[in-house]
């Protein structure tokens, strides 16, 4: 079992904060939808979030990026954030959490 470090605790806090951001079309938070590919913390105060959107060219893309940045900023210890948007690999509904899959009735 891996030991919790201050950095992994911070990453978990960021992931929790990111749950405030929903994909407007699906109406579910971007963490459980699997749109957050990676969260890292640099120097204890900078969040680096790698994310995608359900479809390339989605009109909500920039709002989602800024939403992710603002959610990270809601934590007192984060004062810088880099949001990396990627489509590699492309998102599929199989990346959803089990709860989200159940919600959308998507089979494993």
């Amino acid at each position: 079992m891996s030991e919790e470090t201050p950095e992994s605790a911070m990453i978990e806090k960021i992931r929790t904060a990111l749950k405030l951001v929903i994909d407007p079309e699906l109406g579910y938070n971007i963490v459980d939808l699997g749109l957050i590919y990676d969260v890292a913390v640099k120097d204890g105060h900078e969040a680096i979030i790698t994310m995608t959107t359900t479809t390339k060219g989605c009109p909500a893309t920039d709002y989602l990026r800024m939403g992710a940045r603002d959610a990270a900023f809601s934590l007192d210890s984060i004062d810088e954030a880099e949001i990396i948007l990627t489509y590699t690999p492309p998102w599929t509904p199989q990346m959803m959490s089990p709860e989200a899959k159940t919600h959308f009735r998507i089979a494993d």
Partner: protein, 453 residues
């Protein structure tokens, strides 16, 4: 650097939608009142006034408004100029009113004035040119175009062709077309004008955009490869034959009937492949429960299939001449308007969500797009609309004028019900407190989008 989110919102799309819905209500009201076909002849000026209220006022403004919002989505780039669509809308509306007035003059309902057709031509020509400039420049910034954008580009070329035919006809009506070739085009080219408009501009563009929108809204895998490419090629071939060859044949004074048949074969192939693609998109969707817009789009697609089958049957059995009014009506209202109303219901909610809640995402809890609408309340208007369209089509087939007028009045009622739902969506009336207006969110304007910086 992070892009400005507002760059993905079209400022004037809502104004186009409002003008479009008012035009549809007006046209349905006129049909219910017995104005134009079938109370008057199919080529009577009264009929032409109603037809252009539908095709320019309703369907073209709806399509242009949607394209200003979704072409940037298709190409994943910004719109070329977010302000020019407003003068384009004003010019098109003034041109449409002048065109309708010109037809009413021809019908003897207004005092004659020869210049009105010319003024209508100039205003409509200028309005569509501006709109095409914005969309064309937006597409040009994303060269080489992806396949959905290629459909739109061909649609834009088709609206230019439709407008060119229309200009020739209006000049002919006003007595300004002196050349014999133009006079022959005026006499023989009406089917080319109709097919360029309904087929090339409205249907072909809708086919291209719907590939993407259906996949996006139902979480279906994007269709790629040979099938969609052949849909595109066959559609282009059909349009090139009908518009290109047809225009040459008509200008030479020959009946373009055989050209229509040849182009129609390619068009049927295109529709057949599109039908197969649409079935794939619905069957392979990863979202088992689909929203009202996707369900109603499926009903519109069934109307397209019915129209294609009936047009083929009537052509082969020699019934096309007497059933053309019913078939065009079915294509306009069952397929194009049905799809248009379904997607309008979704796009208004989506654009309103982006405008109001996009800027506060991550700062506060926000509603879903679906929280802006109440589908169980809206769906009855859609069913009423499609049922009324089907009854109206049957009445046209069997020559039942009073039945048609009653069905048109029902369509008008259903459209008004849908329009009221759109206003409620725009007013955020369906969003429950406290999510409705959190700090930093203002109630949106009805007719335009306020783009946050």
């Amino acid at each position: 650097m992070m892009a400005m989110p507002g760059a993905t919102l079209s400022r004037w799309t809502l104004a186009y939608f409002a003008a479009a819905v008012v035009s549809l209500l007006l046209a349905e009201g006129l049909m219910a009142a017995g104005f134009g076909y079938p109370s008057a002849g199919i080529r009577a000026p009264e009929t032409l006034a109603v037809v252009h209220c539908v095709t320019i006022g309703w369907m073209s403004l709806l399509m242009l408004g949607a394209l200003f919002q979704f072409v940037p989505v298709l190409i994943a780039g910004p719109i070329h100029d977010n302000d020019l669509p407003l003068p384009a809308l004003v010019l098109i509306l003034l041109g449409l009113l002048t065109l309708i007035a010109s037809f009413l003059q021809l019908a003897g309902l207004l005092p004659p004035a020869r210049a009105t057709f010319l003024i209508a031509t100039v205003l409509l020509g200028a309005g569509f040119t501006l709109a095409l400039w914005v969309l064309g420049r937006t597409l040009a910034g994303a060269w080489p175009l992806n396949l959905p954008a290629q459909f739109v580009a061909v649609g834009l070329a088709s609206v230019a062709a439709t407008a060119a035919f229309g200009i020739i006809f209006t000049l002919g009506f006003g007595g300004w077309a002196g050349s014999p070739a133009l006079a022959r085009l005026h006499a023989l080219g009406v089917p080319l004008h109709i097919i360029a408009g309904l087929g090339g501009w409205l249907s072909f563009t809708a086919i291209g955009v719907s590939h993407r929108l259906l996949a996006m809204f139902m979480l279906s895998p994007e269709l790629e490869g040979a099938s969609v490419r052949w849909t595109f090629r066959l559609g282009c071939l059909a349009l090139a034959i009908i518009i290109g060859v047809g225009a040459v044949v008509a200008a030479a004074g020959h009946d373009p009937g055989w050209v229509l048949a040849l182009g129609g074969l390619a068009g049927l192939g295109c529709l057949g492949l599109y039908g197969r693609d649409a079935v794939q998109l619905y069957r392979k969707r990863l979202r088992p429960l689909i929203e009202l817009n996707s369900r109603m789009a499926a009903i519109a697609l069934l109307h397209l299939a019915a129209a294609a089958i009936l047009i083929t049957f009537c052509t082969l059995s020699g019934l096309l001449g007497r059933s053309v009014g019913a078939l065009v009506f079915l294509s306009c209202f069952g397929w194009l308007s049905g799809l248009g109303l379904a997607k309008l219901y979704k796009i208004v909610a989506f654009v309103t969500w982006l405008e109001c809640y996009g800027p506060v995402l991550g700062k506060t809890a926000t509603p879903r797009v679906q929280d802006l609408v109440v589908e169980p309340r809206a769906v009855k208007w859609f069913w009423l609309y499609f049922a009324a369209v089907d009854v109206a089509t049957l009445c046209l087939f069997f020559g039942l004028v009073h039945g048609f007028r009653t069905a048109a009045a029902t369509m008008c009622l259903a459209t008004a019900g849908i329009a009221l739902e759109l206003v409620r969506t725009r007013r955020l009336s369906n969003v429950k407190e406290p999510l409705r207006l959190p700090q930093g969110v203002r109630e949106p304007r009805l007719l335009f989008t306020v783009i946050a910086n």
